[in-house]
Amino acid sequence: MTLSSARSTVRSARPSEIPAEHPTPVPPENLAWYPARQPLPLGVKLSLGFLLVLLVALAVPQLLTSYDPLSGDISQSLQAPGAAHWFGTDRLGRDVFARVIHGARYSLLIGIAGMLISLVLGVVLGIIAGMKNRWLDEIASRIFDVLSAFPGVLLALLVIALIGPGMINVAIAIGIAGIPKFGRMVRSQTQLVRKADYVTHASFYGKSRAQIFYKHLLPNVMVAIPILATIDIGSSIMAVSGLSFLGLGPQPPTPEWGVMLAEGRDVLRTAWWPSVFPGAAITLTVIAFSLIGSHVQRRFEGRQP
């Protein structure tokens, strides 16, 4: 779980709201600041650069490496990193760098797929839960409670146990496990927006219920979603590689990063490179998405309802 989802857990799991009784303080008259176009922080620039490389790796891996990730020369087994093989070779003589590059596709796409499943289902349920109807709220909240009652990894494990291992199933498992994250955040956002003045007063300007919903409520609820999604891709990718590490995702010889780490663990006594590089790839990817996501969140802070 990432910070944002932990935050939303804190917010929505609180037994009840603390009444905000105190009056609005007198605002200073000369509030003349205006967020100028500031240059992007270094971390964000590096993250964007890294993601660009990943995108290339995903789409045209041939550009970055000429080795075949799936077959190798067994006589070249476990060569240390060097001029010929930048990241060394694994137990079967396959070039580790090539495998990392080709593996980007799996971790990224499955991770994004899982996140999208959580997003769509979570958002729909969240909006339903946040609207006025008490019963729908109860039902949707119970679904969130049940889904989050099973600790993330374990829920994914249960789903895999029921539907079997594999790439798509991992995405589904992660997707289902991630529903409460989006659902609760969207639910509390919907409630917040629903009670905001600009929604409750919208009828003064002659707007119909449908107009208010589509023009004011929905857009303001959705505002936070891209940010949450971006930050969440990171944890999604980690979950994918985690499940793959356990052997429940794509099967060898697929060069998925988690699978590579499982293989690397077995030869840890003699070779460090088959484990370190895939792990570093995962870590850097997650960091990149997190940095970009938090940056966008900070820029957006002022526009929150």
């Binding site: 967020p35 007063h201 009828s203």
Partner: protein
Amino acid sequence: MSVSQLNNLPQALVEVHNLSIGFAGANGGRPLVRNVSFSIKPGQCVALVGESGSGKSITARSVLGLSGDGAQISADSFRIAGRDALAFSEQDWRALRGTFAGLVMQDALVSLDPLRTIGQETAEVLIRHDLLKGRQALTAKVHDVLQQVGISDPELRAGQYAHELSGGLRQRGLIASAIAAGPALIIADEPTTALDVTVQQQVISVLAERVKNGAGLLLISHDLALVAQIADFVHVLHEGEVVDAGPVAEVLRNPRHAYTRQLLAAVPSAQSRGHKLSSARIVAAVPGAEGLSIRREALTRHQIEDRTVLEVQNISKRYGAGGWGRKARPFTALHDASFSIRKGEVLGIVGESGSGKTTCANIVLGLLTPDTGSVKLLGQTWSGIDEQQRRPLRRHMQYIPQDPLSSFDPRYTVLQVIAENLPAPALNPAQRQEQVVELLRQVGLNESLLQRRPLTLSGGQRQRIAIARALAAAPALLICDEPVSALDVYVQAQVLDLIAELQAQYQMSLLFISHDLGVVQHISDRVLVFHQGHIVEQGPTEQLFAAPQHAYTRTLLGAVETQHQM
């Protein structure tokens, strides 16, 4: 040092000459407070008055060394209890915080630790400075202090939390926690803001009592009337500098600096009715005259026609039945209220929190359905029908909220906010923009604001945008819900003038809700007084306030008059 010890000393508690406070990198390098001088002697109340951003809070906090990290403080002389405060180490400051001076801030609900009881908060300073030992001694002292501030059953209250007490009680609890160690100096930073008028009096009298017993009081406030009531000396701050200083009576009766004059002249009251506030000027004090001589421009007179715009009959609203435990008690928010507004008339609504005025406004706005009674707008049924049926009439009733920012969609620019309320026949974007620009001009704003976001604008500007948006529908009735309460005196004056001008120009009727009697007296033709869910009195403004019939109106007026001695 205790109060009794100090009374034998002729020297000042605090003596400051040419104090400057700045923060590196802020405000373009200029200090936020420049060359401020004042002194406080035991038994004196010195007030620092100014609008927000004038530097009064920072100055007051510097007396406790609490200006904040990175504050650069310089002065020709800065003496506290006779010692040089510029040479104080953090230890020195901590030794005198709570023992020599205590701080009382605005709003006890956020100024007291919500996780601790009033008793624990009050005892803290005693424990911290090792002033008393033993639980019994502490408890006895805490109860004693609570009683001193006028809390009548201290045993019960000491065990309660701030959110469990009423506004007045918890503010007094806050004062208790500040004076428990018997400090010689009390610093009160807006201690009564956001309290009801009658409750303000209770709290102020507690502070006045301490001053009478020999404590010194540094009072920070934007409320001139309050200052007039209790202070001996006043320093008027404007943009970090003292522009006027002296004994209260003198400064308020014969202000020397233009800023002070403008400020005093801009306060709305019964005397300013029918006149502009923002251009009012104090003329030189005429010898022998009572009060200030203020020259004011007249506002355009507004005409009142005999047609009824809004008719409210016997509305009431009950909350409650259902829910368990405490919530099961039903509660009547509004009893049987009836009134009407004619075309071009300004009806003022006055009342304290819990009086039912908000419920009444919400019913009139159609946000709540009344349990009984009816509301008619322009002769047509308004209450008790579907929103869909009301929609065609909506443009005739518009709303100005207390906090305009939360009523603007956070994604919208100024242009979008106002354009949203333009009558529907879709004009092309260029025409819409033209209309919005025209509306902005009417409220005194420049078209350069069109693409700005309201978040980046000041309170006064936001309120004008809200007014422009309401005007876009050319309403017959404008409901104003505390529209100027969050604004500084001078900005408030400008906005009130604007509302009055537009009202006269468009012949709109106004339903003006405010807790500030001065504002209500200034702007209303007729007044409704709400108390505990009933309209206890209604009538023409001047008559009602000249000869109040109901006891509550008299109490309200009395509380205000103690303040308005001008």
